[in-house]
């Protein structure tokens, strides 16, 4: 249409993909959203991106600044001016700083925008840093076990391959991996499809028969949550017993295999880690473990693909350490069609993070830290830290929470504890787009625009080879502003000079220039060209494969670990001297597993899964997404029968931490003894404190693994018909 134009942008959420969105605009209104129809590989958007028009124009958008009028959390607010809102926030920041010191300011934000070069929670980090400091959080709800294990084993997070390498494998093991719903790089499902059609055998190991298992796999192996490490170790046993390991690879590139072998063969603890031993723990038949071990050892190249779920458990880092060890035992590292089972960034050049512009002034480097503690509070302990402060061993007695780009009441564990914690504070400020369960607890609530209303440059997830310029499509709606503009207006009120001496465009030019610091296979487009084209795809002649140099020319290319080798035994871990952080991959019995005494009272293992309908908690309120599939609790027909539960019945899911009421999805697609709730549904407690929204974090134990993994798949519950 002649009076209509199209503008290229991309979702900047923490969704696992970075897809191309093409917005049709007429008279300043977005009328339609399309996706990539250009050069291959096309970056086609999922349902979430295609439904985004309803999010931008949702009647529920926060339109202007508001202050709380009722009790905190009651959800009663009144409209105020930006001047009053910013004066109040600045006044409270100064009062708290002067009365209690900077560490009493607790910055609890998360990843609502991520992979961006400018707009993210880092606007607040910059502001509070220049204000003299704050207490930060650490950890990741997604992948900390994986990150830690990858650093310890390989000394890097760049351990993966680009997705076009998937069809080069002959066997793919999807271990707790459901890219059909979690996306895991825009093109993953497409390349998995091509791999399947090229004859690659795909095996899915998962407590649920997922969409990915159905679409890609020819074999499904259900396994009890939190026991994956035991199965991996038993597979190692089979390989060792039958002498199937790639000994030459182990001798050349790894250290510590012999110590691991001693553990597996029971020399160190008297327990043979046989398939029968693992069968008892995992619920996977010994024969199945044996067969997969042989298949993995003898089918080369093979990809053992792990990302997050099995590592989001009590000792999640052990799962990732064990997976990497098996990848080494089978010699599948540094070769086409192989996979090192590490963190999985592809070696296409380290792409600049959001920190490039805002924190590092366009160059890699460190943030000036002020009085900010180097290591703050783990994200699973945020509520406990607020309630217990220094007497609980935390770095400060917290008086205020500053939240942007996050919905921690909903997305951090133990939502009922979150309510108690937030009610105990002196001041809470939240930047938001919607009245989320967290926004309800704000004293001052500041409306933020969406990525359609501002410019940014976005790098793809997991280092896929392209960049997208997220063009501003429309002006900011209502009175909303970006986090960055809000902080820039707060800065002078706090006596901060030089928060920003640049326009959005100038910051982005600087950030893009910083991309030159990073190696890529082809020169980058100029800033203006990128902005105009919207996307730069970097064509690779071959898939990019991590550790190819190390494996082909080890003498000149050691692994970036202290020993220069893949560390199956890690001296760094040994030096930590923590019996729960063993130097070799070890199966450690989890808390709230089937063998915990608590299982008498709460016999069902609860897992928390990603849902195709949401980006974590974002888009839970969007009608086009809500109508796709309902929020339910998955329960096996065997467990439902025992409880006289029929498909669709309202049931209560409960433990000592809280109660959630949801309809039951009675299905054959989940292992008996395991129930599952998709994470991200909005916490909606009734007068009795029973959550009617289906928020899984009401039930999850607010605990992390020894290395810092977010244990969202380690909790016990009971289910009864309402």
């Amino acid at each position: 249409m002649p009076d209509e134009k199209t503008v290229i942008t991309t979702c900047t959420h923490d969704c696992g993909g970075r897809c191309l969105l093409k917005a049709h605009v007429k008279d300043g209104i977005i009328t339609r959203i399309e996706t990539d129809d250009g050069e291959e590989p096309q970056l086609r958007a999922c349902a979430r991106g295609r439904a985004y028009r309803q999010r931008i124009y949702s009647p529920e958008r926060l339109k202007y600044p508001m202050k709380r009028t009722g009790e905190r959390g009651e959800g009663k607010f009144e409209r105020i001016s930006w001047a009053e809102a910013l004066d109040t926030v600045a006044g409270e920041l100064k009062r708290i700083k002067n009365t209690y010191g900077n560490p009493a300011i607790f910055h609890v934000s998360y990843s609502g925008n991520t992979g961006t070069m400018l707009h993210s929670q880092l606007a607040v980090v910059r502001l509070l840093t220049m204000f003299g400091g704050f207490t930060p959080t650490w950890g990741s709800a997604s992948f900390w076990g994986n990150l830690f294990a990858s650093e310890m084993t390989y000394g890097t997070l760049t351990t993966g391959t680009t997705r076009d390498d998937l069809p080069n494998a002959r066997l793919i093991i999807m271990w707790g991996w459901n890219p059909a719903e979690s996306i895991q790089i825009t093109t993953t499902s497409y390349f998995m499809t091509l791999a399947k059609e090229a004859g690659v055998k795909v095996v899915a190991i998962d407590p649920r028969f997922t969409d990915s298992a159905a679409a890609f796999a020819s074999q499904w192996i259900p396994i009890r949550p939190g026991t994956d490490t035991a199965m991996l170790i038993a597979m190692a046993y089979v390989m060792i017993k039958e002498n199937l390991q790639d000994q030459k690879f182990l001798d050349t590139y790894t250290i510590g295999f012999d110590q691991f072998k001693d553990y597996v063969m029971g020399k160190s603890d008297g327990v043979l880690k046989t398939p029968a031993w693992a069968a008892d723990i995992t619920g996977v038949p010994a024969g199945t473990i044996e067969q997969l071990a042989r298949e993995y050892a003898l089918t080369k190249p093979s990809k053992l693909l792990t990302l997050g779920a099995p590592g989001r458990t009590a000792f999640g880092e052990q799962f990732h350490r064990a997976a990497a060890t098996l990848a080494a035992m089978t010699g599948n590292i540094g070769i086409y069609g192989g996979e090192s089972a590490g963190f999985g960034l592809a070696p296409v050049g380290l792409q600049p993070l959001a920190s490039a512009a805002l924190l590092h002034g366009g160059k890699p480097g460190n943030l000036p830290e002020g009085t900010t503690p180097k290591k703050g509070v783990h994200i699973t302990k945020v509520w406990d830290a607020i309630l217990n402060g220094t007497k609980g061993g935390y770095p400060a007695d917290f008086k205020m929470v500053y939240t942007t780009n996050g919905n921690p009441v909903n997305q951090f564990m133990n939502s009922n504890k979150a309510v108690r914690a937030l009610k105990s504070l002196e001041f809470v400020v939240v930047h938001e787009q919607f009245m989320t369960p967290t926004a309800r607890y704000a004293d001052i609530l500041l409306p933020v625009n969406t990525f359609f209303e501002r410019n940014d440059i976005v790098r793809p997830w997991h280092a896929a080879p392209y960049y997208i310029y997220a063009n501003k499509v429309i002006d900011s709606l209502y009175e909303s502003k970006s986090d960055f503009d809000i902080c820039a207006e707060l800065a002078p009120r706090l006596g901060i000079e030089g928060y920003s001496d640049k326009t959005e465009d100038e910051w982005l030019r600087l950030a893009w220039k910083s991309a030159e610091h990073f190696t890529l296979t082809k020169p980058l487009a100029g800033y203006d060209e990128l902005k105009q084209k919207g996307v730069q795809k970097i064509s690779l002649k071959q898939p990019a494969v991590a550790f190819k140099e190390q494996v082909e020319d080890f003498k000149n290319h050691p692994f970036p670990t202290p020993s220069g080798k893949i560390e199956i035994y890690s001296q760094r871990l040994a030096d930590m001297n923590n019996p729960k952080l063993t130097p070799m991959p070890t199966y450690i019995e989890p808390w709230e597993g089937t063998r915990d005494a608590l299982a008498q009272k709460y016999p069902l293992q609860l897992i928390s899964t990603h849902y195709k309908r949401r980006i974590h908690s974002q888009m839970d309120n969007i009608p086009w997404m809500r109508e796709l599939e309902p929020q339910t609790v998955w329960i096996s027909s065997a467990d439902a029968r025992q409880r006289s539960i029929q498909h669709g019945d309202l049931v209560k899911i409960f433990n000592d931490r809280g109660t959630v009421v949801l309809p039951a999805k009675v299905t054959e697609r989940i292992m008996p003894g395991v129930v599952s709730i998709d994470q991200g549904a909005w916490f909606n407690p009734d007068k009795q404190g029973v959550d009617r929204g289906g928020c899984v974090n009401v039930l999850l134990k607010d605990e992390h693994s020894p290395a810092g993994a977010f244990c969202s798949n380690t909790s016990l519950v009971q289910i009864e018909k309402v």
Binding site: T31, R32, I33, E34, T35, D37, R44, A45, C46, A47, R50, A51, R53, Q54, R170, A180, E181, T186, S189, Y190, T193, K196, E197, A198, G199, V200, F209, D211, S212, A213, A214, A215, S218, W220, P222, E242, L244, E290, R294, E295, L298, T299, K300, K612, P623, W624, M625, R626, E627, L628, S636, S637, A638, T667, E668, R669, I670, M671, P672
Partner: protein
């Protein structure tokens, strides 16, 4: 000429990008009107379970029962390309009539939630068709499970399979849609039919040996391994 759809069930991951793209392109509110709907079929018993999705819109039948049933001739088949259309001004509305939905073996005539809603359904994205573009659903699919075009061309490319799990061919209406199934036939716990369309992997002589040996038990396996090494 008859325009038609193709749906590759072996590819569909059940992500709903097609149905949401349809709603966005055609500006349809959330609610009962689903021009394109995605449904799941779960079969089998744990742990031998099967899941397939089917993504369907109006199949622009060669002999549309909806048009025959309409008492006011508000449903029209385009003589050039076979695409169905509804004249909403003539339509009597769902509460007053609803004959088209009852007549369609797939219940594809759609109605909004308003009182006596007028019929609406897939237009094959006729605005895109005029620009030689495929329907929004086809261009949305992340795994390229959908296609659309003249029936003869689709048959030449994809073959003539007219049924799939979740869709039975109606001889009476002759829907204009072709399929590729995920499973060749209904799988049972005993025999999972391998996909006949899946080509054998290209293997070297050495890797062929390796593939063969993993099909045997422990003893066989050790024997073969010894032979190679």
């Amino acid at each position: 000429m008859q325009m038609a759809f193709y749906f590759d069930q072996s590819r569909c991951i059940g992500c709903y990008a097609c149905s949401v793209a349809c709603k966005d392109w055609n500006n349809i509110e959330a609610g009962p009107a689903q021009w394109r709907r995605v449904t799941a079929q779960e079969r089998g018993a744990y742990p031998e379970v099967y899941l397939t999705y089917v993504s369907l819109s109006c199949s622009h039948c060669a002999r549309p029962a909806c048009a025959d049933a309409c008492p006011v001739n508000a449903i029209i088949k385009n003589g050039n390309n076979g695409v169905m259309a509804v004249n909403q001004e003539e339509c009597l509305g769902y509460d007053a009539c609803g004959a088209c939905k009852k007549a369609c073996p797939y219940a594809m005539p759609q109605f909004g939630s308003e009182e006596n809603a007028k019929m609406q359904m897939c237009t094959f994205c006729n605005d895109r068709l005029k620009e030689n573009r495929k329907p929004a659903c086809v261009d949305a699919c992340p795994v390229r499970a959908l296609d659309a075009g003249p029936m003869e061309e689709l048959q030449a490319t994809y073959g003539k399979v007219t049924e799939v799990s979740g869709f039975t061919y109606s001889n009476a209406t002759k829907p204009s849609i072709l399929f590729k199934p995920r499973y060749k036939q209904n799988p049972s716990p005993q025999s999972r039919t391998p996909n006949p369309d899946k080509p054998e992997p290209k293997l070297t002589a050495k890797t062929k040996k390796e593939t063969k040996k993993i099909e045997f038990g422990t003893q066989e396996l050790t024997k073969v391994k010894t032979k190679i090494s």
